[in-house]
C-alpha cells in the first residue's frame, strides 16, 4: 500500500526560512561544562564541540506557548503523515571547520528525502531533513542530516 502521495513528495526540497544565531563564548562554555568536556579549547569557549549545534537554531517560544510537558506547541515543519508515531532515526554531522566564539551562523533546513519501507511490524516512513549551516561569508561550516522514522 502506498502511503506517501505526490502531495507528500512535493515537500522534498522545500526550504524553511533561514535562522541566524550569534555564537557567544559564554554559551559555548555553558555547553562544555554541562557535557563534561575535557579539552581547554571547549572549556575556554574558543571553539564549540560539534554537538553544540543541537537545537542551536530551535525556536525560542514564549512561556504561554509551552505545553504542560514542557515542549512548545505545534513543533516541526513538514507534511502531515499517515503514520503518527515518530522516532529519531539518527543524526549525521559533516564538519568543514570548527564553530568559534563570535561566529554568526545561518541554518537553512529542508526535507531532502521521504521514503516508505516495510518493517517487521508494518510500514515505516523515513523523512530525511538536511540543515546547512553557513558563516557570515556564506561558507559552509557544518551540514546536519537527520532521519525521522514514522510508524
Amino acid at each position: 500500500m502506498a502511503l506517501l502521495t505526490d502531495e507528500h513528495r512535493r515537500w522534498i526540497g522545500r526550504e524553511d526560512a533561514p535562522v541566524t544565531v550569534e555564537v557567544s563564548r559564554r554559551d559555548i562554555v555553558k555547553y562544555a561544562v554541562a557535557t563534561d568536556q575535557l579539552q581547554e579549547k571547549y572549556l575556554r569557549g574558543d571553539e564549540a564541540p560539534p554537538m553544540f549545534v543541537f537545537n542551536l537554531f530551535g525556536p525560542l517560544r514564549k512561556l504561554e506557548d509551552m505545553r504542560a510537558d514542557g515542549l512548545p506547541r505545534a513543533q516541526g515543519g513538514g507534511p502531515a503523515l499517515p503514520l503518527k508515531r515518530v522516532m529519531a532515526g539518527g543524526t549525521e554531522l559533516r564538519m568543514l571547520r570548527p564553530i568559534r566564539a563570535g561566529d554568526t551562523l545561518t541554518a537553512t533546513s529542508r526535507i531532502t528525502d521521504m521514503v516508505e519501507k516495510s518493517g517487521a511490524q508494518g510500514p515505516l516512513i523515513f523523512t530525511v531533513r538536511t540543515t546547512r549551516i553557513t558563516d557570515a561569508s556564506g561558507a559552509l561550516v557544518l551540514e546536519e542530516i537527520q532521519t525521522a522514522i514514522a510508524r
Binding site: A34, T35, D36, Q39, P50, M51, N55, A88, M95, L96
Partner: protein
C-alpha cells in the same frame, strides 16, 4: 604524545570513558540546549505522567559523549570530519554509560580513519551506536 596515522591499525580500540549523569548535570545540559521537556528534570512527572522508570538521559547528550570519545582520543592530531549517532535504547538517571570505539577502516592516501562507536550501559546493551571519520594530519 600526538597520535600519528602510521601508528593506527584496524581493530585498535579507542580509550573508554564512563559518564554518570546527575540531576544537576542533566538540568545544566537541558538549560544549555534550551530543552524544557520535563522528562529530563521532573521525576514525579516523568514516572507518573509519561510512565518512564526514571528521569531520561537525553539522546543528544549521549551523542555528545560519543563524539568526545573521538575528540579526546584525536586531540590536536587531526580533525573529526564526520560524526553520526543513533539513539536506539533509552537510558535513565542513575545509569553509568560507557563510550568506546574501534578503528574499522583506514585510507593511507587520504590519511583518514573510519571509526565504529558505541555507548554501552551497565548491562552491556548498546544504547547509542555511532560512526565517525577522522582525518589525521601526519
Amino acid at each position: 604524545m600526538t597520535l600519528r596515522f602510521a601508528d593506527l591499525r584496524v581493530g585498535l580500540e579507542l580509550p573508554t570513558r564512563a559518564h554518570t549523569a546527575t540531576n544537576v548535570s542533566l538540568f545544566m545540559y537541558n538549560a544549555a540546549v534550551w530543552n524544557p521537556h520535563r522528562i529530563h528534570y521532573d521525576a514525579a512527572y516523568t514516572t507518573e505522567v509519561e510512565k518512564y522508570p526514571a528521569i531520561v538521559i537525553d539522546g543528544p547528550l549521549q551523542g555528545d559523549w560519543l563524539s568526545q570519545c573521538v575528540l579526546n582520543w584525536l586531540g590536536d592530531a587531526g580533525d573529526l570530519t564526520r560524526f553520526a549517532y543513533s539513539n536506539r535504547r533509552a537510558a535513565y538517571l542513575g545509569e553509568t554509560l560507557v563510550t568506546g570505539g574501534t578503528i574499522s577502516a583506514l585510507d593511507a592516501s587520504a590519511r583518514t580513519a573510519e571509526l565504529e562507536l558505541r555507548v554501552t550501559n551497565e548491562r552491556g546493551d548498546v544504547t547509542t551506536p555511532g560512526s565517525a571519520t577522522v582525518k589525521v594530519r601526519a
